[in-house]
Symmetry: C2
């Protein structure tokens, strides 16, 4: 008898799926049974994509973003403003900012944020490369675009201390009421900070 | 430029993940980035488990359950009651019944239920094998344990028609108020059927 799943192969697949975030044993079994109902190519494709993803991936030598070559498409793009660097946690946040269409500078991907709870310390991030880059003098502004969490703020402060003796402007993305939100549904901290950090009224909030 | 994900490898992994049920592009990207942060073995293990699952899986020649050999552990077990066959949709439902510890018979895994919406017809199920098995005369009771849905009921009726000329008892698992549920939260159809199918009171409902 091979546990509950009547097959070591199913058992192994379920075990492997449950190592992914947000996937429990029930979902893992559903995924495994789904794959068994699909043509063999589907499982082959997924298995290969996963193995290649980890074994063949490269990182941009300038911004540490995921890349298929030595440098990524954004760092290679001469139309981007290479004197403005936006510091992000990972590719997901970079994609989110790219999707706004509002940013023309380049990025620096930290690969995480300082989180003692998850065992991520400053040494796990691409901080040395950021300092070297800023010290070289070609960067005018570093925009901190980290999550609005305690971990994000800790990382902001750590980077601020690292860079404070270098002549460079350090900014953070604005925190405030999300556009479209009602005031009475906004949490007190956000509302409080949005009052303290009030901005000059320019005749429109970008909505009309 | 390789789309939004700055890497064909990430793109391929995201595409492959989104073919799984319940996984959209955002979740797929989260899974891919998670794998990139793990040791290479994690992705290797998951990729291999998925490929092997589909290419090496075997099915029990008696009950069509997933198996590592020609017959599954339940069909090989001499302590099970081989004259009682419980008809289930798939391995998940079989596991659910096994977990109750209340069933000592064997199973017959249909591999789906009749669903015109999903393009599953009688020909896609293991019905021929079920008929042959019951016709052989060694089966005393067939218990239908299919979902309490229109598709489940359609399949029940189809199998009932297939087997009606064979001397075998056909039963279905009881439908009624789930144990622990309040009457006023139960839907009208379940409540109505539970009144029609009322059972002799045996002094306890198994709760005390």
């Amino acid at each position: 008898m091979t546990g509950n799943y009547s097959s070591v192969l199913v058992e192994n697949a379920v075990d492997a799926f449950t190592r992914l975030p947000g996937i429990g044993r029930k979902t893992a079994l559903r995924l495994a049974l789904h794959l068994l109902r699909q043509p063999p190519e589907t499982a082959e494709l997924l298995g290969d994509a996963i193995k290649k993803l980890r074994s063949e991936i490269q990182y941009c030598s300038i911004c540490h973003n995921i890349s298929d070559g030595d440098t990524c498409a954004i760092c290679r793009n001469p139309k981007r403003d290479h004197a403005t660097v936006c510091v992000v946690e990972d590719l997901r946040d970079m994609i989110a900012i790219e999707n706004t269409g509002q940013y023309k500078g380049v990025y620096h991907v930290l690969g995480g944020i300082i989180s003692p709870m998850e065992g991520t310390g400053p040494g796990d991030l691409t901080l040395k490369s950021l300092t070297t880059k800023v010290e070289s003098g070609s960067i005018k502004e570093v925009i901190m675009a980290l999550p609005a969490t305690v971990e994000g703020d800790t990382t902001n402060f750590y980077i601020f201390k690292l860079l404070r003796n270098i002549p460079v402007t350090i900014t953070t993305i604005a925190r405030g009421i999300p556009i479209g939100d009602e005031l009475d549904y906004t949490d007190e901290i956000t509302l409080g900070r949005s009052i303290l950090n009030r901005q000059p009224y320019t005749g429109t909030n970008g909505l009309i």
